[in-house]
Symmetry: C2
C-alpha cells in the first residue's frame, strides 16, 4: 500500500513524547499520558490534532475542549495526590508537538519551588511503582 | 467609612506581581501586565478574582474567559514579535495569586531552550525601552 506523502498529515505522537511518557488514557480527541518521572505526579495532554504546535493553532472549540481537559486532569491530580500547588504549562521549546504539562507539586519535591524542567534528572518508575501509580490515577475513587 | 474586615475579600494585585510587572491594560475581569524583564516579551494575565490560586478555582465561565484572554495575548505577542515559540504557563509556586505567563521565545534569547524561570537575572526595562515596548503592544497595528 502506497502512502501518499502529499496528502493531509495525520496525527502521530511525537517520538520524544512517546519515549518520555506512558499511555494513561485516550479520550478523543486527546491523549493523556503519564510522564516517566516518579519525582512528581505529572500528566501530559496531547491534542490528537495533526500539526498543532501552539495553543493559538487551535480553533475556539478545540481550545475549549482542551481547557476542560486540563481542568479534569488538574482535579484528578488534586484529588489523588493532594498537592500543595498545581503547575500547568505548554512550552514545547524542545518537542514541537503541542502538549500540556499538568504537574502536582509539593514543598518537599526535588525541584520546589522552581519549575520542574531541567532541575533534577528524571527518575523513571519501576514496573511496580508504575502499576501502582496507574491504578491510583485510573481508580474510580481515591485509594 | 469603616471597612468590614469580615466581609468577602476583594481583589487586590499581589504585591510581588505588582513589583515585577508594569500595567498594560485592564480588560475586566483581567489585568494584563508586562513583566519587567527586557530579555523576553512577556505578558502576565491576572484574573481579578479574589482568592483565586489555581485554574481549578475558576468556574466554567471564568475558565473560558481566561482561555480566550490567553489566546488574545498569545496572538498579540506573535503578531508584534514573530517569536519562534510561545510559552504559556501558570505555576504560582512563589506568588500564590493566580496568574498566567504568556511569553514570546526566540532561539537566541538568554534562556533558550530552557523555560525562562530562574535562568538569568531579569533585565529591567529602561524608561525609553519600556515606552517603546508599551507602544508596540498597544498600537492598533504592528509597527
Amino acid at each position: 500500500m502506497t502512502r501518499h506523502t502529499d496528502g493531509p498529515a495525520s496525527y502521530a505522537l511525537d517520538p520524544q513524547l512517546a519515549a518520555d511518557t506512558h499511555p494513561l488514557a485516550t479520550f478523543a480527541p486527546y491523549d493523556v499520558r503519564l510522564m516517566d518521572d516518579a519525582n512528581y505526579p505529572w500528566l501530559v495532554l496531547v491534542p490528537r490534532i495533526a500539526g498543532a504546535r501552539e495553543l493559538i493553532d487551535l480553533d475556539a472549540t478545540q481550545r475549549r475542549t482542551l481547557t476542560d481537559e486540563i481542568d479534569t486532569a488538574a482535579r484528578l491530580l488534586r484529588d489523588r495526590f493532594r498537592p500543595f500547588k498545581l503547575n500547568v504549562a505548554t512550552l514545547g521549546n524542545l518537542v514541537p508537538q503541542l502538549h500540556v504539562h499538568v504537574i502536582a507539586r509539593f514543598e518537599d519535591d526535588p525541584a520546589w519551588p522552581a519549575p520542574v524542567w531541567g532541575r533534577v534528572a528524571a527518575r523513571p518508575y519501576s514496573p511496580e511503582a508504575l502499576v501502582e501509580r496507574m491504578n491510583l490515577l485510573l481508580a474510580d475513587t481515591p485509594a
